[in-house]
Symmetry: C2
Subunit: 311 residues, 2 copies
């Protein structure tokens, strides 16, 4: 059986960006679509900032900072340095070149372009052939209720508190009234392979599923859908997925992830470290595929992408 050639992936930030880098290396990039979480988006200094969209764009363009895992390689920080003079909000670090992305996005939005349209322009400017679709052109805002502090915006929790505080609940403000981006449902319906990237199930994939219509579209493609577990040996490689799962009453393991994803995917790739949990994943209703899932570099990303396409 030939590997599927049209691929639609649900994506958050860093982990998704790495798998997508693998997918565009082993498939025709023009046939790859990523539907990206925008619940993390923030307006700061009047600028429309879309961290997950930018992390994917910069990663696929080979421009991401290897050291940071976010932002641009060789970035300078003169604007943030000068903002310190004013006691401005510098907790969310924006490099000088990265600022241009937000300036452009904000200007185009003010001219009437949708987030979907301006995202396509940005992706094209970086010379990328894949299609990057914001989950919605409507504002959906992930908000996190934190023990003792009340509710925070996602970036206040994630960056401002370094996701080091206990979470009581998460909600996606605006999701109920949001519509999927104009090409989103068709991209799910027509793909030969649907992929759920190794992103945070609660705050990266969760907002995408919360946009009315997307979860139903996924359920209809369950047989062709493959997830990659973001949890390896009980822990997240990066970010708070493990803590969030536990704090919100789920199991921080591939089994906990399998239970969340069972309505949407028939297959899940789990790391070799979790081979022993394969029967429990199976019991949760998902066929496990055991493979190395840590993507240190392009070769591992491409190998994992092949597993996902051939699973």
């Amino acid at each position: 059986m030939a590997a599927p050639t049209t691929i639609t992936a649900l994506a958050g930030g860093v982990g998704a960006a790495r798998l997508l880098r693998g997918l565009v290396a082993v498939a025709d990039p023009a046939e790859v679509t990523a539907i990206v979480n925008t619940g993390d988006d923030i307006v700061l200094h009047g600028l429309a900032i879309s961290p997950d969209l930018d992390t994917i764009t910069y990663t696929l363009a080979g421009a991401i900072s290897r050291e940071q895992g976010w932002g641009l390689e060789g970035e300078t920080w003169h604007a943030m340095g000068a903002l310190d003079r004013y006691g401005g909000q510098t907790w969310f670090r924006l490099g000088d070149q990265d600022l241009a992305t937000h300036l452009y996005r904000t200007q185009r939005r003010s001219e009437g372009a949708t987030l979907t349209e301006v995202t396509a322009e940005i992706v094209r400017a970086w010379g990328l052939a894949l299609r990057l679709l914001p989950m919605s052109d409507d504002r959906v805002e992930t908000r996190v209720r934190v023990l003792g502090e009340g509710e925070l915006g996602f970036q206040e929790y994630f960056v401002g508190r370094q996701h080091g505080v206990p979470v009581e609940s998460v909600r996606f403000v605006g999701a109920e009234d949001a519509k999927p981006g104009p090409e989103v449902l068709a991209a799910i319906a027509t793909a030969e392979r649907v992929v759920v990237c190794p992103s945070n199930p609660i705050v990266s994939i969760g907002p995408v599923l919360a946009v009315p219509g997307i979860a139903d579209a996924l359920r209809a493609r369950r047989a062709d859908a493959v997830a990659v577990s973001p949890i390896i040996a009980g822990a997240a490689l990066k970010g708070p997925a493990d803590r969030l799962l536990t704090e919100l009453g789920h199991e921080s393991s591939v089994v906990g992830v399998a239970r969340l994803y069972a309505p949407y995917v028939a297959t899940m790739v789990i790391d070799e470290a979790d081979a022993g949990l394969a029967p429990a994943v199976e019991a949760a209703g998902i066929r496990p595929v055991v493979a190395p899932t840590i993507m240190h570099g392009p070769d591992e990303a491409a190998a994992l992408a092949r597993v996902v396409l051939e699973a």
Copy 2:
């Protein structure tokens, strides 16, 4: 007679900034107030940009780029360079450190601070003691009708077209409904000396006079008010004041300026090059004081400031 110690100046950009630098050198800076044109303000990339306020702040802080006459000395341009990748709007050049001023202003405005309040914060952050008052906290927009092109925003005309196109008319959109900034009228009423800086009479001082209440407040102080002519030997040192005066039916000379300012000032400092026109200025109803008015550096600015205070 002792020179006046409390000073309120009407100000545009570069010329005003230089005279203000002189005024704070020869008087107590804490007793100097500038009421600044905001008709040139522009929202670009979602950012609230106030060019005249910033030119004055940077000049008085000794941070203005000497070469450009605007922006910051030692500025870098990484954001603009990166914006080129997107085909973004780079005609209005914003340096990386300068961007921080606009980021801060925009953020504070979005938090509910008035332009007057955020301007005071910025001035304080630069360690300046003078008081900088936007002419209004309401939006007033200078628009320029250009031969064959229709109406342009001021910066499109001034920066985008390098003010090299013939102007048919100028208007100040929003001025009729604008209120003077909260401290503006009192600053005019209580100053011992009112100064009209050597700024463009049409597009720098014009918008200030167009805010209801300010012209009347000035008329009441005419005897104590001194203008410095921005026109020397028929020409503007910088910018399109000479062309604009001619195109809009005025005389491009100290006499033309005197006719415009006669309702507001009893005295005008004119350059030595225009000594021969002193009788015509007198005939326009303004007492001329002849002095060197070109401010190459701080010494000439201080000398001119002394003339203005002692006139």
